[in-house]
Assembly symmetry: C2
Homo-oligomer: 537 residues x 2
């Protein structure tokens, strides 16, 4: 398809049933509809594959300046490092831009957990984010507290002060007969390419009434979750009232891999609450099974967490390569990724990998000496893990709303995002933008040798491209190989540099550099979705 | 094949090329050569599958009384628990039998390791066994010491006192594209069954000259290993002389799973040496990459290890079900497993699983009311991890040597061992005993529904059946599903109760109970290998 169809033709195209996209892509390529600059791609590939700095950046952003929990001073140091890097490459105006109030900063400064009786063993564990530490060294027998009904509260009232308690039963831990790591198969990519245009309802967050059986089931599930959460809240309030020393929780994951989460509000006006410690499931099981036998389990716990209340704001990191065409340089092509992470690992795949790939793409473009016609702008967001806070604030402040885009917003051509771990880019989610398919197909063709090929009409969510898509600016997230994202790294203590694959990182930087360069130099702005099928946010 | 061939016929059979064993087994079964008591098997299966106590024992032997490092007081408590259990089932004369001098006991009582700068994080780690703890709380910058030549020693002389050092470079950590867990396929079992009779040379440890290219390569590899070890010994002596606070080592394993080993002699006459701490590879990598950037890494380390020098002996655990046939009750069928473990996990698959399966087999036999003609004796060994010490001592003391078997030794029919984790029994290694095949085939037939079927002429080594096989008493180790033995559990911190599979444990107890019952009641002693092909130990 051509990029310059009339609005009516675009709307017709958008309403067509499933398109044979691969074929469409090939035709577009054969017709030369979407220009591809093979000389530029050669330069990009040479710089990205032969002079890569992406793994060096990865190590600095994780080993030295990780984890990057939003609001923590470590994250600020990581940002300072990033700005210095961008300065050293000659990017224009690299800067840290505050986007608004986030809340308290939080850092786990010390973690010591040791069962001392009946048999000593060190416990692998992590505090949940924004929970307080212990009041110095705690020594306590572990109490397994089962509160399932009102009567249960009375059993424990007045008996838990200063104790370390467990609240949850043990869960099943199955052997790993499936590989932890996987790449997308050709069949999987073909399935993605065959996906139909998403229904408008599925694209907007405003749907208020259940429309399908699946919707109803989802709502019932949400209600059940809310009820469970309400009970949990009541139990936690009781636990806090009883001045429990700490709560030990069973972690998701196994084999020493522990997934953590948010444990308490980051709002400085809320009370600190109870120390929450998530431990390796094997250690949870061992403690619980021992206590259940009537054998006392004694432990020592010393957790020091520091809150930072002096500066409640957070920031995004921005820099540019200015456009060189006087008529087009006010138009902007953006690329970005969230810079923040959770706290138990070093936030390597989530999302130093995305940040480093975007940074490397900028470095590659600058080093290759290519001259983009439009301005290329990188934005690394914080607060993504708490709800796309940095990107949504930026977009609102700079580009307005769907119904009232600013002039700057009208001049943003397209935004590319990366946030699914180390995995090689294998394609792009079109977010229902039918005209994007042939363009992406043309741009991917020079990376076909690396398995970059799929364009799917499907949506994907959960990350910062939604901030753009939500106000009608084309925003895309790439299809990536899974590698170990879901099984091992996403929000775990083992999201570390070791999980990041050099070859994937180089490829991703090259693909992104090429995409943004081509977006910057194509004749027109990137086509926008017809309002009829755009998400409403 | 029949069990009562002449010695000459047996020798001929032993020298035959690869036997079509499956066929041989079927024929033997068809001819009814090896009696199988289906009523007994029904009783055994009912007790083992419907009234199992094996997982309860597993939890006590691991969660409460683990790890069971030989010589530690925890191991002694585990033995006391085991004797009590056997008493409660009515086994005869359950007892702890000292087998001789082992060395010091050792327990890790406290482990605290925390990087404090540039970014705080808790380090997953374990002391190597029999190494000393730190001298209280150590605070130190980490020094990466590279000693590859004589000149390198001088660079560091006088500079390392009180420091925490790293000696090893980082290794590769690959994603896990292969499953951690696997079961044996039909093809794998068929391959085992097709294995030829092992060559006599391969069966004896005394081969002194290289006989094949493979032998020569193996010897060169051994020499290279010895040279590397010599360098390592010299480096460690230097490190000890320099009064280093501790050495941090990279662990095998990943994702929080850490494999540990022996770090120092258990001989009370040797000096304590240097604290050796093996840490999660991700944490090793993070520290090393940071130090290599010139960024100082500060850490706190507080490791308390206790030595037990008051009793240097160790023991085996023995009990019996007396035979009921006056003519046969002096003959003995034995089953056993090593009871000891390494120290970083709880020794669940290595080898509480083997011990619990053997104990459960004894319980099942007793509870089922079956009357074995020969005496059935269980033996749970210690010191296996240090070289089959308990079983070799027992066999030497009770049964003599190959060239001079005691009367008791002549009356041992067969010994069955289990020491390959949780995995379901799928067959038996015949250790080159050709006559064993048809017998095992007949005994396995009633468990064919559970996938127990393969008899292989192959040897397997590395565990306590070798103590018996080495003096000419038939000693066998079962073929088991791998599950996660090699990848996750064997000598790791994650060898815990969670890794042990209920269904496998029940099956293994049932199969073993049936095997020993049939061995106890068959007309003749289990056939022995001809001397010509027996291993010489």
């Amino acid at each position: 398809m051509r990029p310059h169809l009339s609005a009516a033709a675009r709307r017709r195209a958008a309403l067509l049933p499933v398109l044979p996209l691969l074929l469409a892509g090939r035709l577009a390529f054969a017709q030369g509809a979407e220009p591809v600059d093979m000389t530029a791609i050669s330069k990009i590939r040479a710089e990205a594959f032969e002079h890569s700095q992406v793994m060096t950046m990865m190590s600095w952003l994780t080993d030295v300046h990780g984890p990057r929990l939003t609001g923590s001073p470590i994250t600020r140091r990581a940002a300072d490092y990033t700005v210095q890097q961008m300065q050293s490459w000659g990017l224009s105006n690299p800067r840290i831009e505050p986007w608004g109030t986030f809340g308290r900063g939080w850092v786990n400064e010390k973690f010591y957990a040791q069962v001392t009786s009946p048999v000593p063993f060190a416990v692998i564990g992590y505090p949940q984010a924004w929970t307080p530490g212990t009041n110095g060294l705690v020594k306590s027998a572990i109490v397994y507290v089962r509160i399932d009904s009102d009567a249960d509260f009375e059993k424990y009232r007045g008996k838990l002060a200063g104790k370390v308690v467990m609240l949850a039963p043990m869960r099943e831990v199955a052997p790993r007969f499936e590989p932890l790591a996987a790449r997308r198969s050709e069949a999987d990519l073909a399935k993605l390419e065959a996906a139909p245009l998403p229904a408008p309802a599925a694209m907007g967050p405003r749907a208020s009434a259940p429309r399908t059986a699946a919707d109803s089931a989802a709502m019932r599930q949400q209600e059940a979750m809310r009820a469970t959460q309400a009970t949990a809240v009541r139990r936690m309030a009781f636990i806090a009232d009883e001045n429990v020393a700490a709560v030990i929780e069973p972690g998701r994951g196994d084999g020493g891999t522990v997934f953590t989460n948010n444990g308490q509000s980051r709002d400085p006006k809320t009370p600190y609450g109870t120390p929450l410690i998530v431990v390796a499931i094997e250690h949870y099981g061992r403690m619980l099974r021992t206590v259940e036998k009537g054998v006392p389990v004694e432990m020592e716990l010393d957790v020091r967490n520091r809150f930072y209340d002096d500066d409640l704001t957070s920031f995004n990191i921005i820099a540019e390569i200015p456009g060189t065409d006087p008529k087009l340089k006010d138009e902007v092509v953006m690329l970005g990724a969230h810079f923040d992470s959770w706290h138990a690992g070093t936030g390597a795949t989530d999302n130093a990998a995305g940040s480093a790939a975007m940074l490397e793409a900028m470095r590659v473009l600058k080093a290759s000496g290519l001259k983009p016609k439009r301005t290329i702008r990188i934005a690394l967001w914080t607060g993504e893990e708490q709800g796309l806070l940095g990107s949504r604030a930026y977009v609102r402040q700079q580009f307005g709303t769907r119904d009232s885009l600013t002039d700057a917003g009208k001049k943003v051509s397209v935004y590319f995002n990366l946030d699914n771990g180390t995995g090689a880019i294998r394609g792009v989610f079109q977010q229902g933008n039918t005209e994007a398919g042939p363009i992406f197909k043309a741009w991917m063709k020079p990376f076909d040798d690396k398995g970059v090929k799929a364009a799917t009409l499907s949506n994907t969510g959960g990350t910062d491209h939604l901030a753009f898509d939500g106000i009608g600016i084309p925003g895309f997230q790439f299809i990536q190989d899974e590698v170990e994202y879901g099984t091992r790294t996403h929000h775990s203590n083992m999201d570390t540099y070791e999980r990041v694959q050099d070859a994937d990182m180089k490829l991703n930087a090259a693909v992104i550099a090429s995409f943004v360069y081509h977006a910057a130099n194509r004749p027109a702005l990137f086509p926008r979705k017809p309002a009829a099928i755009a998400p409403r946010s």
